[in-house]
Amino acid sequence: MATPTSGFTGRRQNRGANLPPGQYLTDSFPVMSAGPTPHVLLRDWSFQIAAGPGRTHRWSWEELQALPQEDVTTDIHCVTHWSKFGTTWRGVTLDTLFEDVESDAEYTMVHSYGGYTTNVPLDDLLDGKAWLVHEFDGEPLPSAHGGPARLLVPHLYFWKSAKWVSGIRMMDQDLPGFWETNGYNMYGDPWREERYW
């Protein structure tokens, strides 16, 4: 009787329970981009949360750096089918940024330098589920991967983790961002394979 082998190994190997359906594992970090890379000088950079008229919270780069920082190790899953395990990031949890934000709105629109948008329910940004990150793999986040800072929401497909993030606007209803308008799912849970409408 033949002994079962471990089968083919390599780029499309499946590491079982940690790989969502329809995904393959990669060791590289593909650069996905739907437009030119914005180059924002740190002295011009800011991040804001707009909770309503007269209720905008804004942080400069220096103010962001002065907030408590967290190191995050997480798997990421791109809707174009690649997943990458054990990525390491450093940044500020969204819980810290939303600490003084008062709003009854349950939805958010994430905005980026360059005009990109993506919608994320507020609950998915809180309770340790999302970060504003500015380091990858121990180095400043390269602009190709969203530097100076990007959103990290690793439990959703990675198009929700907006590169070059500039702010978050609170919304009373769930409206589609860029890819959501162009056929992609409003929520984007990789474990339920919510790729499209």
Binding site: A34, W159, G183, Y196
Partner: protein, 94 residues
């Protein structure tokens, strides 16, 4: 029509089926069409615009202001085209 006015059926229109033949020439190959950007008003052939395709869909941008002209998403059994950034397309016919 003013949104406060009530719509009433008229005799001036037919349904959209009648457009089918007239639109055929736009379907053949749009890359030679002259495209006006809705953002900055610049015109030029679609073939000269900037195509980004390392993304979940193909995104075509204006070479003048980089605004999104159109986006084409391939979902296998469904193709989705949005053209928010196109104000006008001109096809030259023989």
């Amino acid at each position: 029509m003013d949104s406060t006015q009530e719509y009433s059926p008229d005799q001036e229109h037919v349904d959209g089926n009648a457009l089918a033949g007239a639109l055929d020439q736009f379907v053949a190959d749009l890359t030679s069409a002259d495209c006006m950007c809705a953002g900055c008003g610049t015109s030029g052939p679609l073939a000269a615009a900037l195509l980004y395709r390392q993304a979940p869909g193909m995104v075509l941008r204006c070479p003048s202001c980089t605004a999104v002209l159109l986006c084409l998403t391939d979902q296998g059994d469904r193709q989705i085209l949005t053209v928010d950034g196109v104000r006008r397309l001109v096809i030259s016919t023989p």
